[in-house]
Amino acid sequence: MALCTRIFSASKAIEILEAYEGTLDDDYPPENERCEHSEMLLYKVSLLEECGLLEKALEELHKKETKIVDKLAYKEQEVSLLVKLNRLEEAAKLYRALLYMNPDNYRYYEGLQRCAGLYSEKGQYSSDEIQRLDALYQSLQQEYTWSSAAKRIPLDFLQGERFQAAVDNYIRPLLTKGVPSLFSDLSPLYDQPGKADILEKLILELEDSLKKTGCFPGRTVKEPPSTLMWTLFLVAQHYDRRSQYGTALAKIDEAISHTPTVIDLYSVKSRILKHAGDLTAAAALADEARCMDLADRYINSECVKRMLQADQVSLAEKTAVLFTKDGDQHNNLYDMQCMYELASGESYFRQGELGKALKKFLAVEKHYADITEDQFDFHSYCLRKMTLRTYVEMLKFQDRLHSHSYFCKAAAGAIRCYLKLFDSPPKSATEKDEEMSKLLPSQKKKMRQKQRKAEARAKKEAESKNEEISASNVSKSGKRHVKAVDPDPHGEKLLQVEDPLMEATKYLKLLQKHSPDSLETHFLSFEVNMRKQKILLAFQAVKNLMRLDAENPLSHRCLIRFFNKVSSMPAPVSDAERLVWSVLEAERPAISQLHQKSLTDANISFLREHENSLMHRVAVAEMLYLLEPNKKSEAVKLIEDSPNNMVSIKGAPPVQLWKLEDCIAVHEVLENVLIDKEAASRWKARCAECFPYSRYFEGIRSSVVSKAYLNNLIDNSENGASNHPELNNSIALNGKLETFKDLKI
């Protein structure tokens, strides 16, 4: 009852709780109900907090201290109230007490900083503040020498030389110990300007010193041999982050030849290859890593992920089911709700198999529907167990469930499939018949025979599978579980949907409701509504795009396309149409880009503002072609002239600005939109030089070209075991033997 009222008004709920408390005896609660009672008290306090009655909440909390069992929650609640009441000194003391219990909790440090007035959301601090923070953390480090958080947090706000000293101190012991996650830990630092260079100088120094003397610079204590390997590991990841893939691969290979038995090295190499664009080699390497520890589920999942990215779907599924229960493997994979269908669906989409892709995306959507339904189990359970605070949080979670990124991706994928279906519908049954009649009668007969055989085979398989399943189920449980055999394994029925746009709209509505701040949502909305001829809805999408990010090439494209379409539509005839027209006329001046300008001019001014950016130029070129189709060569030239400035950072080799995925997108534009095959192949050749590892551009180092690379991965061992000569007189060492010099992994 308290919960229901809570939805309407927290204060009402408090009243009810107090009334309830009034009816209890003093020696309540009995031993076995202490937890529930304490939960209720904490809940009441949190309600008071929400109402803003902070003083009262604090008072309540202190009064009921003896009855509250969850001591940690008590302290955390107290400290949050103290901070809100601005009683900072007391709060600071309490935070220190909390830190004593858990010196690695980042939130306590944050709280402490707030109490000292030294907290900033974006991490921007003046140099004076940095001094004070530094002093604070120095003292904290002294107090909690075993805490890694106290050492890591200063790295975020320190700058320049101090930063270098601190990071040096931080990294060295972790390299000696051999912490594989060191790079992920340092990764956020790369986003802060200047720190990446400092890090580079530092770790190269470490590597150099270890190679020459076996010690860290400035020390005489010899490091164990594994330290060099972990340092090389760190260096490789560093270069990978800075997009210098050649150097990264060289370093990781060095590490691998130093100690070939460490699985993390292979995983990282696989990741570097993926970034560089060679997905097949990445998948092969991930598989090699997986084989080194067959009991590791994480590595198995990573391997499946890489295989799906490389579009090796059936192999991926076979690998994934290694960790499912024997028997009903496929269903088990689905039941685990691991969302692998998302990656699988995207892979099918890339390969153009829309039916299967749709099936996978809809499976993800079903997962989310299941999660929403599952909440009903908790309503009665939570009330019984009185875990009120967690219950309220769960309800909030369910409200936002569909804004989760996996769901967004799946919905976006499904919408894209439907859009594709709309644009190029699959052959309907009647069309197929027409084609058939054009064939010679003998060919027709053969085709029909083939079809009949295929159908019979499929039927037999389905029957035998059914028998198998029911047999195993009968033997297992004695009851008959008739598990529905999937009637449409390849999603063909999904392809035959009558109105793909209507289906797409279903998902679109969910996306719009839960992810209104995502560019993707509005872009998809634009695409769907343009096709449906819903002008105002499309316009709404354009307005949202402009609101979110007007400078984005995507928004620019949609804007121009929309007004181009509108201007080419016939004059409004019906009243409804005239209404639409007038709305558009009224809104058009509000869009600053089009103020007083024609579309072509708007296009050109956009170009002038973003002359150096590849993706912006491509958008302009596309639109130029759309507005004035006879200017195709100009459009192509616009793209080809894009500068690929080498960004040269002091001391480091220059890194190009272009990103691999952007270049792939440009290539597709050249081929499919501007339809200029020669320009496309020129672009491909140019990119092959920039991205030598990319399979898409067939760069010279990618596995498309150099098979030798893949051969190194395949084990060549074909020799017999060295048998004891007395047992087996023939020399058993036959086959290929290689000397020490040629050994390479």
């Binding site: 070939p260 084989c291 080194m292 520890d293 061992s717 075991a721 060295s722």
Partner: protein, 174 residues
Amino acid sequence: MKQLSTSLEGVRDKNIMQLKKLNIALFPVRYNDKYYADALASARLEAVLVIDDEKLKKRFTEAYYSDICVGAIACRLEKKDGAVRVYIMTLGVLAPYRGLGIGTMLLNHVLDLCSTQNISEIYLHVQTNNEEAINFYKKFGFEITETIKNYYTNITPPDCYVLTKYLAQAQPKK
């Protein structure tokens, strides 16, 4: 130098690949898949080296240095004239990790096991030019008992020594 923890583990089927990687890096001889399959079959019979008349049991152990697999030893039991011998098939440590006592640990492990069973001798083959290995084994009391010409086919020199260590009997032979 800082001493990091070292430990020994028997080979399991889940990490047989690590053993393969080690052997590829350490030895000029490539072993085929049957070798590793046998390794697995025997690894499950771990714990105690029970002497069974007709069967030959093998034993594989890997050495870990700070949780990185850096070395391994593989040996098997053989019967000869009623006595039981141990033959070391491979013993090796990755190059950067030598000189840290890991090889010693592996060999001592096997020697300890031998002393608790009725093992009369333990022996192995070494390429004639492998000075380091020969010196290593001599430290443990191994002696060169034989030289076999053209034992290896594709590496030079193709000759090898047989190094043997005779063990005092724990119990009198029956």
